[in-house]
């Protein structure tokens, strides 16, 4: 994960606070150890029984904030999704869309796609996460499994440039068709202009000091 230096996020000025020497590393989200707790063990067991290639397809299992995340290899995503939906012990009937996240620091897995799943039968939630490199940002589409993902995948393509292979009409949805760039990526600037008020100038939000 990320690493922070200093305390206030100030760059390029002399350190007068004495905090500049601090180094803080973000929490590591390594794979969780069994038992996972709650219903997560049941979900993992049922998936493993129904899907013999579990160990190859699932890169890691993360338990955080009382939520289960399965990191899936993109080649296996559709297979895993179908089993999660169709197996009566799992029956995740609903996929609540896909949310993209851009981590420019994670070389080779810059773009993540996060799929929250919901089982109405068992009243459970889990999350699938797929990561792909920026240079090859292809993820198989889940529209054939959950048709409701259609617009969500278009939005994630629009905002992050993740290409969902097999999507019937992967076009921009929120931005104009001829828009250049993908706005939610971290390398896409927010924009904005400095505002002057009574002699003082306030920089645009993206130019302001970031406290980390």
């Amino acid at each position: 994960m990320s690493q922070d230096d200093g305390m206030f996020g100030v760059q390029g000025t002399g350190d007068t606070s004495g905090f500049g020497g601090l180094v803080r590393t973000g929490a590591s989200t390594g794979s969780a150890e069994r038992p996972y707790g709650s219903y997560f063990d049941d979900v993992a067991d049922d998936l493993e029984r129904a899907y013999p290639e579990f160990n190859e397809a699932i890169e890691s299992v993360v338990i955080q904030n009382g939520e289960l995340t399965l990191h899936v290899k993109r080649e296996k995503l559709v297979e895993v999704a179908k089993i999660l939906r169709d197996n009566p012990k799992l029956s995740f009937e609903m996929c609540l869309g896909v949310s993209g996240v851009h981590y420019p620091d994670q070389t080779g897995r810059e773009l993540h796609a996060v799929y929250p799943l919901l089982s109405l039968t068992h009243n459970r939630r889990i999350r699938l996460e797929v990561s792909v490199p920026d240079a090859d940002s292809h993820i198989p589409s889940l529209v054939e499994v959950w048709a409701g993902n259609n617009w969500h995948e278009r939005e994630t393509f629009d905002m992050f440039g993740i290409i969902f292979d097999g999507h019937a009409g992967l076009t921009r949805i929120l931005m104009p068709d001829d828009w250049a760039g993908h706005p939610q990526r971290k390398d896409y600037p927010l924009g904005g202009i400095p505002v002057e008020f009574q002699g003082a100038t306030i920089p645009a939000p993206s130019e302001r000091r970031s406290y980390r």
């Binding site: 973000g26 904030n65 609903m94 929250p116 109405l120 939630r125 617009w151 939005e155 929120l174």
Partner: protein, 444 residues
Amino acid sequence: MTFDPYASSRETTEGRVYSVTGGDWDELSTEIGATKEERVVVNMGPQHPSTHGVLRLILELEGETVTEARCAIGYLHTGIEKNTEYRTWTQGVTYVTRMDYLAPIFNETAYCLSTEKLLGITDQIPERAQVIRVMMMELNRISSHMVAFGTGGLELGALTPIFFAFRDRETVLDLFEEISGLRMNMAYIRPGGVAQDVPQDSVDHIRQACRDMRKSFKDNETLLVGNSIWMKRTKDIGYLDLAGCLTLGVTGPILRAAGMPWDLRKSQPYSGYENYKFDVITTDTCDAYGRFLVRLGELEQSLRIIEQCCDNLDKLNGAPVMVADKKIAWPAQLSVGADGIGNSLPHIREIMGESMEALIHHFKIVTEGFRVPAGQAYAAVESPRGETGVHTVSDGGTRPYRVHFREPSFNNLQSTAAMCEGGMVADVISAVASIDPVMGGVDR
């Protein structure tokens, strides 16, 4: 050049000659009428008064029948998710409240629940704050459903419901103003609790409003339930059964009108909903009329919950409304100036005159905000339109790394094609009105 019947009279026999018989017009004119059906593609919106906001519908018609319906959205895209990445976690509330502007409290609550999950303080939220959240959400559900009835009726040509509906909505908005200072987009729910306590006499006003609304809801009920014109416009219109709802991820009144008693308040309670007595309203007609009945039934259930909240507020009078952790809680109450706004005077006296450290902490909490442990979380609430889910990612800093809203309007609008294709043009209006999309939420 080829043979040109007009050239002799025009004397242009050399060079290229342009005439109405050139090109492939001959071919084209013989093709006209080759197909029997007459297809028209109609562009409805984005400035059409019946499309529930800046929604653009592209309809392929065969006579009066819709053969294909597609939505074009994005006309109200404001980049709220991107903007939150440049503000503190507390300021994020002010942004997300403007997404689904008819259900601001739900956006705020979902965002705060997700943030609190990341902070690990879900079970430290004071009980009074949770009661206030529930009460505000249920009041908001009433005001949102009122717009669904009012504008939905208006779109179908029924002019009276909106007067009844907006009269009752006004009652709720007045309560919002009394409690939070604002009628819409209040930024009232904050990570850790709520911005300020409910004024003491407001509880009585809320009780009175509940009594009034219970009577005045009858106006729309008696006007529309069983009304033959209303039934003809909504019964069996916009049909979407349970299988369709599941595959399209449709939640909320549409799902409950398909017979599925799925309500996150019951199935996955948050903010203490498990302590309230209320029913999940369902119908099994899968049509626009069923959705109308579900919304109508939910009004009464919301009133029931609000009345229980009022009793709880009386019991918890004076209890804190913000988490005890001073690093997360907003440093001062904001409703205590002479004009009802501003920081509390004792707090200002303390930070300006008595404690340098208090001033430093006030400054740091207000400008920097608090740090949120790295990770991701998803929290969902049952908004008037379905599941509002918030996926937040933190990198450990004072600003969100990513905030994504799973907006029910955005998702449910996908079902337009399934509901409208094969029906009449006029029924498109009815179907879209029954989805009740809010374009601010769709486009974000």
